[in-house]
Amino acid sequence: MSIKYSFTIIQLISRDVFKVASKERLMYGFLVLSLLFVLLANIPFLINNPDLFEGMTPKVASLQIGFMGINVFLMLTSVFIGVSVLQDVYAEHNIALLLSKPLKRWHILEGTCFGLFKIIFLNWLIMVSSLMIIVNFHTVEVNAFIWTGMSVSLVLAMIYISLLVFFYSFAPNAISGILTVFIIIAGFGVSLTKAQLASLPQPLLFFVKLGVEAIPKINLLFGISMNTLGIFDIPIETFPVFLHTFIFLLVIHLISYFRFNRPR
């Protein structure tokens, strides 16, 4: 089976998944709410009083509001729409029907991940474009760095989707969504947890540390994004964080692959 053949099949399945996701009314609800939130990015420019925004310029305050709205709703869309789509696509009768066509199980897995990512990407594109229009309109300049800064959100979306698919391969129900949210929350507290670990007894410490190190460092990824957007200036080494994230993505994706590829 050639790479071109596999790629075409994955693309076809991803299109099918995209179609399923685009029928989800909840997604449009989240999109509208996120756009309303992004609209709030106008306020710092309209008020134009840095004292109200902890000394931040209107542009920085506006970017912070947009950043928050986009990331919150991107996470909600990924998790809620992801669970709903997986319940449709991974339904036994659908898998059996797809498997009767000339394709392999892993094509379905990759197609699903790719399809989910495509729909999240589209949401991201609409949200970031709206923020861009607002900021560009008020500053009367092209703020291309917004795309770079917000691209970290796409890496985060990849984490959310991979975690969801990973958990869904073990628990094919809404629990996978809850577990994904738990890991995301845990990812915020990684650096704080490390300080508390020293008091643990030695054998336990090793495993807990291993677990903590494995969790994606969501707070650092947000930090990188905010640095690029000029909201904060936090010293974070970008390369190790991204390397860790991609290794994490690769490992959980491989586990999902072996789990899903095993016929019942």
């Binding site: 029907l97 498997l99 000339p102 073990f170």
Partner: protein
């Protein structure tokens, strides 16, 4: 967390079947006998814990994609993706079989005409009746012009008119030397079209034979009931 712990049951045990090319084969048995499990193994959804499946002379586990290009499958219930229109779903399956654009249109029209859904081309699948969904399922199974058709309960939910149409399709396919493997509960229907049959219960093969041999002695229904009760 039901997926983490799965109870093991033997759904199909020591089943040995050989079906000849160009034959309409009926796979019969009461509910829970293992018919759907067998078909699920034939399409690669389930993996047999022991033994091998050979289709078109090749081992299924080694050449599944090549074999599946020549298989058409109609699942037990009309579980079709409801987010498609009739034509769109067939188009999607054509693409999965790498059927070219020009040929695609011809095939879609041909299978829809065959099952009597030519006027439902643009209808949403969720708007179809149960019988129409069954017909669409059959159209999907025929879209790649398969050499082997696996039909899981093809005659359920169908009115006599559609039954007649499906019977005609099956006979036409047989004339084209296609092999048909079907499971069914409607024994009178099976008797009309099948060349041979096998009866299975609790995953074990009870008996198999030729339909023409039955006609002189007793009906398939009588044979079925006797085999089940004897066990």
């Amino acid at each position: 967390m039901h997926a983490l712990r799965r109870e093991c049951i033997t759904a199909v045990d020591d089943l040995n079947l050989q079906i000849n090319t160009g034959e309409i084969f009926a796979f019969l048995g009461p509910n829970g006998a293992g018919k759907t499990t067998t078909i699920n193994m034939l399409v690669g959804f389930l993996k047999p814990s022991a033994g091998t499946i050979r289709i078109f002379g090749s081992e299924f586990s080694r050449a599944s994609v090549e074999i599946k290009r020549r298989i058409g499958y109609l699942p037990e219930a009309a579980h079709l993706p409801t987010h498609y229109r009739v034509g769109e779903l067939l188009e999607f399956y054509c693409e999965l079989f790498f059927i070219g654009r020009k040929e695609r249109k011809r095939r879609i029209d041909s299978v829809l005409n065959g099952v009597g859904l030519e006027e439902q081309h643009k209808k949403l699948i969720q708007e179809l009746s149960m019988g129409q969904k069954r017909c669409l399922g059959l159209a999907c199974a025929l879209i790649n012009d398969p050499d082997l058709l696996l039909l899981d309960e093809p005659t359920v939910y169908l009115d006599p008119l559609i039954l007649e149409k499906i019977r005609t399709i099956l006979v036409q396919l047989k004339k084209q030397n296609k092999t048909i493997f079907m499971s069914s509960h409607i024994l009178s229907e099976v008797e009309k079209v099948c060349d041979s049959f096998a009866i299975i219960k609790d995953g074990r093969l009870l008996c198999r034979g030729l339909t023409r041999d039955l006609k002189d002695q007793r009906s398939l229904e009588e044979e079925f009931l006797q085999a089940i009760k004897k066990q």
